[in-house]
Amino acid sequence: MGFTSYASDKENATEESGKDLKTEIKEYIQHHLQDSHDFSLFSYTKENGEHKYVGFPLPIILWDNGLKVFSSSKFHHGEEIAEVDGNHYKLYHSKIYKTDAHGAINYDEEHHPTNAKPLDFSITKNVVMIFITGLLMLWLFTSLAKSYSKNNGVPTGAGRFFEPIVLYIRDDIARPNIGEKRYKKYMPFLLTIFFFIWFLNIFGLTPLGINVTGNIAITFSLAIMTFLITNFTGTKDYWMHQFDPLGKSLPWYGKILLYIILVPIELLGLIIKPFSLLIRLYANMQAGHIVLMSLIGLMFIFKSWLGSPLSFLLAFAISLIEILVALLQAYIFTMLSALYFGFASEEHEHEHEHEAELSH
């Protein structure tokens, strides 16, 4: 999509090459940050102005009064209108809109398209990447598991690297935050989510640069799982705390007034916890990619002996930081999930709790 706008921009503004380049970079970054319906590795422009894309198309699955499956090559990278079963679809800003035969898109006053959007269940670039990561993790960790049984409890190969991480998550994230008795049932989720986020973050930093964890739908899905697990494994004490935070320290007539304010705040906290999880991961990855790509873009804007090496060095430093951030965000997500699980599965000793409340 970025390239189509770029093409039209180029026709309009050939004389302002500086602004043109900036716009191009901006469009390119925005395009990169978003999901895409085809798996393009890179693209270039031929002498005659024709765009060449290297990559492969992905299947498009739409639900629009019936299932419609076709290849994304029909869109020609957003340059053409795909016609399926008499319906016309157009790719606009990485989203599929239903249009008439000419591909006209109507806008409202804020320049948002008003065309109908069919439900899009396409196998996009991000879905492919999730799939690849999933396969990689399956292969990696099942072979680690096998190496234990084969080698009498001692890991081999890559397992030597991953085993300490698994143990770290168990001993420094799950055990202290959830508790010695109950941490076991949360371990698979914590391990899976940690490695999943970490691997996807790292993949985002490779030259392929597929920004999966910087996508709101992905982080939303991850956070909602933490939310669901937190609340479904919540103990009686946890729910008591949600709806009766003061316990026995006040008579009922005293509590009513307070609870009108207190209970909604407690319930809001339930939502805010996973919401901050999803926004944190999204914003961190998104911001990292924007900064990194802008710095790389600066190299092309400066085109001088001073500016370009400088921005190269900066980009290099930032990518080192980003590698750290990739790990850190995975760690924080896992850590906070463990913390929320710990809150939810905590069982107070009632007498002790009562004493604590009296002493307040």
Binding site: F121, S122, I130, A145, A217
Partner: protein, 166 residues
């Protein structure tokens, strides 16, 4: 917020949830469970081995303590035996000394008594002999004295003169 909602793709959410759920299930079953079990087993093994080593060490200590005790006892016994022997020796020696002394004393006393009685007997004998001798001498002297008449008269006169004075 509006931007976020605009970016949100239901399809991606659907696939992510599905694939992640599947991944979670498969990893749970085929990776995390065996890995965590293996690690736990290993840790338990290490713990057991450590405990066993600790036990062995304790046992070893007990054994050394026992032998130490035995040694001490043996030494004490030896000491006691030696002491006893020394005491016995001392008593034997002192008893013997005592016996010898009393025996000696007795012999000396007997000897002294014998000497005394011999002496007495000797003295008595000498007395008798002296008495006989003096009587014989006296007889001879008197016989000599009274052989002539004048001498007899002179003696009687001397004796009578002494009585006169009285």
């Amino acid at each position: 917020m509006e931007k976020l909602l605009n970016e949100f793709s239901i399809g991606l959410f659907f696939w992510q949830t599905l694939l992640f759920g599947l991944l979670l299930f498969l990893l749970w079953k085929f990776a995390w469970k065996p890995i965590l079990n293996a690690v736990n087993d290993r840790e338990d093994g290490i713990k057991d081995a450590l405990a066993a080593a600790e036990n062995a060490k304790k046992e070893m200590q007990n054994v050394t303590a026992d032998s130490e005790k035995l040694l001490k006892e043996a030494r004490a016994e030896r000491e006691a035996l030696l002491k006893e022997a020394r005491e016995i020796k001392n008593t034997i020696v002192s008893d013997a000394k005592e016996l010898a002394k009393t025996e000696g004393d007795k012999i000396i006393k007997q000897a002294q008594a014998a000497i005394e009685s011999e002496k007495k007997a000797a003295v008595a004998d000498i007395k008798n002999q002296v008495a006989n001798l003096s009587v014989e001498i006296a007889e001879k002297v008197i016989k000599e004295e009274l052989s002539d008449k004048s001498k007899q008269l002179k003696l009687v006169e001397g004796m009578l003169g002494d009585i006169k004075l009285n």
